[in-house]
Symmetry: C2
Subunit: 433 residues, 2 copies
């Protein structure tokens, strides 16, 4: 919150603004996007759609100056003013280049590109987990030497702010253990196998059809993707990585529907758990199919969601859950890093946001499901839930707050409860009001 | 991560340090704790036990200079060097006072004390949700005028970093809706009523015996506590609060075990949900018992845990879960704010932590539960899970990694899976190796 008041002062004091060094010389912040796959496109679109927010927070326009792309002939709907090239040289030689966002897959040429961007004095942001797991330490040192920042929130769990949360906790907490579901593809497959009694291959095909798995799913289902993310978390949490060779890495390809059924009978679920902890001062990690019981927060994580559970000495256990991949969630993490890089003063405070806040969100609240227990007069509710004796007389309706309010007046003894989340009921009979 | 490199530079550059203004004149950081209940004591203890971490992060010692306490005669195990007084005047008049931590209950005298601390130029940190819900806006403005910071992470969901996460998201995301389980006491009671078929009053008594509920539970079970927290979240997320009179606030006292049973039959759970959202530019909130289905992340939050689910336009839905109260979790949030107040530069980076990292965590990994499916030779496992035909031949053991490793050598066709979380199995037969 102090960052709030601090930011408030900065936004309102030109003098403070002028202390932002090179940034003050810029008319706008010019960024290059390396790679134009899902993440690269998400970043481009988000900058386009959220210009106003960016300018209000940064006090400057953000311009995508260039995009590095494999096939530059293919039309990507990129604005004509943007340099679209397949040659990194053309990008690194731009007159003004402030931030380089790297969203390529694999170690090279990504690592070399980022080294050169840092050496040129650009802030860099990466979503490339394999590269950052391999070269993150070197890149951080290089960035420190050149007094630029390096953001990598997008490398782990997409939009879920895992990196920043761990860094915040580390201010005072000692982290004991991190357990995570870090790969949405394999979690989706395991969820489908359990829910539908499918085989691994059938669930994989379904995942591929839904776009949750790639044609070659090795990286996801063999645990490499989760492993890279785990190594990145290890360095943040414990200041180093274990010897990669000594980290057991098992995928989910050997899990059978029979095993899942047996586990289910015991009240357990298979999850591909990436785990890292300190044992006698040694960093010990593993990525492997693990059985999780109901009492564990990761038991409930289903589908493509990611979740990270952090055990620390003072705060105890904190669990974060959210979209681990996808165009916009990952872009959100990249833009977070972009803003931090430019401001270098933590988050903007809400004392400033409050004045900027434009509650223009024009959504209209859709009707909600309400369960009515013991209505006085069932005639109000022609279709009642007569599925079972206990539910006799109960009723499920779909209505807005006002309708419910008036119904309440007429049903003094009835209890009205809004229902959150998808509500599937086989014998469901829904009254729409 | 740029905050990492930035911090790295600061730690290693005296010049940067000198730009910290008044801080550089201090030999140590002197703080006062107002109120010595659970939170106050937790802060005192944490500062005592984590001196080394604080000094390594802040570059300065943190000293508790004074404690404001109702009954100063009662021995609280406070160090003799600390001023223990029941007179605020004695504290505000101290020669050096840098940070005031307020952990009192109720609006007054807390609000007056914090105003005076801010006017004196102290950074202030509060864990007082009622006071901050009422006067937070005024205090933020006053703090901005006096160029001091005000921290309030501890006012909502204890150790769960809800405030900072929302502020970070707000850099670029527009928040649509926040739904939370913000009161651990009422969630514990509802969980107990469902799990044990208890009445409200029986569950309340149990909560009181466990120390989860106070002698007068009104604040918790009537939804006031959740309401105050919701108002604080509203101001951060939407830059303002709804008219308090127009926010429906219902507690859980009217929920019966019969209603819970009916809901259970429909696959729904009662939760005391605090909700705030923008509808047509208007901030609309409510605190009331709500039915939650399995598909909603708050369905799974049981016991005294708190959880907040945030829907934002770019990142989608992010859910945080953790200890909503308790001495140490809340203290952790206060110390977070303390560190931000002193550094005024966001979180210290791991490039710095890495050099400081002392992996002295000397825990020994306890034995884990492992489920073994289809061992080649059951003689290794005298007690097998013969509870059902399908499980015939399966076995549950408790062993360390090495034991499991050697067992694997002897059971090439068996599948070994570690079990996470409490694992209760009625017909469980556990082999301890």
């Amino acid at each position: 919150m102090e960052r709030a008041s601090l930011f408030f002062i900065q936004r309102s004091s030109p003098l403070e603004m002028n202390q932002k060094g090179s940034w003050t010389r810029m008319s706008s912040i010019k960024i290059a996007i390396l790679g134009f796959g899902t993440v690269g496109q998400g970043v481009y679109k988000t900058i386009e759609t959220h210009q106003k927010e960016l300018e209000s927070v940064l006090g400057k326009k953000v311009e995508v100056a260039a995009v590095l792309i494999k096939n530059k002939e293919k039309d990507r709907g990129i604005h004509p003013g943007v340099l679209v090239t397949d040659k990194f040289e053309e990008i690194i030689d731009l007159n003004q280049l402030d931030v380089v966002v790297e969203a390529i897959v694999g170690n090279e040429p990504a690592y070399t590109y980022l080294q050169r961007a840092i050496q040129r004095g650009c802030h860099v942001i990466t979503a490339n987990k394999e590269m950052f797991a391999s070269y993150g330490t070197d890149l951080k040192e290089l960035a420190a030497q050149h007094d630029v920042s390096i953001g990598f929130e997008a490398t782990v769990a997409g939009g879920v702010p895992v990196i920043q949360t761990i860094q915040q906790l580390l201010n005072i907490n000692r982290i004991k253990k991190i357990e995570g579901i870090l790969n949405g593809t394999s979690n989706y497959i395991l969820s489908e196998m359990r829910a539908k009694g499918e085989s691994f291959s059938a669930a994989l095909t379904a995942a591929q059809e839904k776009g949750y798995a790639e044609a070659d799913p090795t990286n996801d289902v063999e645990g490499f993707d989760a492993f890279y993310k785990l190594m990145i978390l290890s360095e943040i949490a414990f200041g180093g990585k274990p010897d990669w060779e000594r980290v057991p890495r098992e995928g989910i390809t050997a899990i059978t529907r029979e095993q899942i059924e047996k586990a289910e009978k015991l009240g357990l679920r298979f999850k591909l758990i990436a785990s890292i902890q300190l044992i006698n001062g040694e960093i010990v990690g593993s990525v492997r199919p693990t059985l999780v019981s109901k009492s564990h927060p990761l038991y409930h994580i289903e589908g493509v969601e990611n979740s990270v559970s952090i055990e620390a000495d003072i705060v105890g256990r904190i669990t974060l859950q959210g979209p681990g991949a996808g165009m916009l969630p990952t872009a959100s993490a990249v833009i977070e890093d972009l803003i931090h890089a430019v401001l270098k003063t933590g988050v903007p405070g809400n004392s400033f946001r409050m004045q900027q806040q434009t509650p223009e969100d024009s959504q209209v609240k859709e009707k909600q499901n309400w369960l009515i227990l013991n209505p006085d007069d069932l005639d109000h509710f022609p279709l009642s839930l007569s599925s079972s004796a206990e539910l006799e007389g109960s009723c499920l309706i779909q209505a807005d707050e006002n309708t419910v309010h008036s119904l309440r007046q007429e049903n003094r003894n009835a209890s009205f409860f809004e229902v959150l989340g998808e509500f599937m009921l086989e014998e469901r009979q829904l009254v729409k009001l």
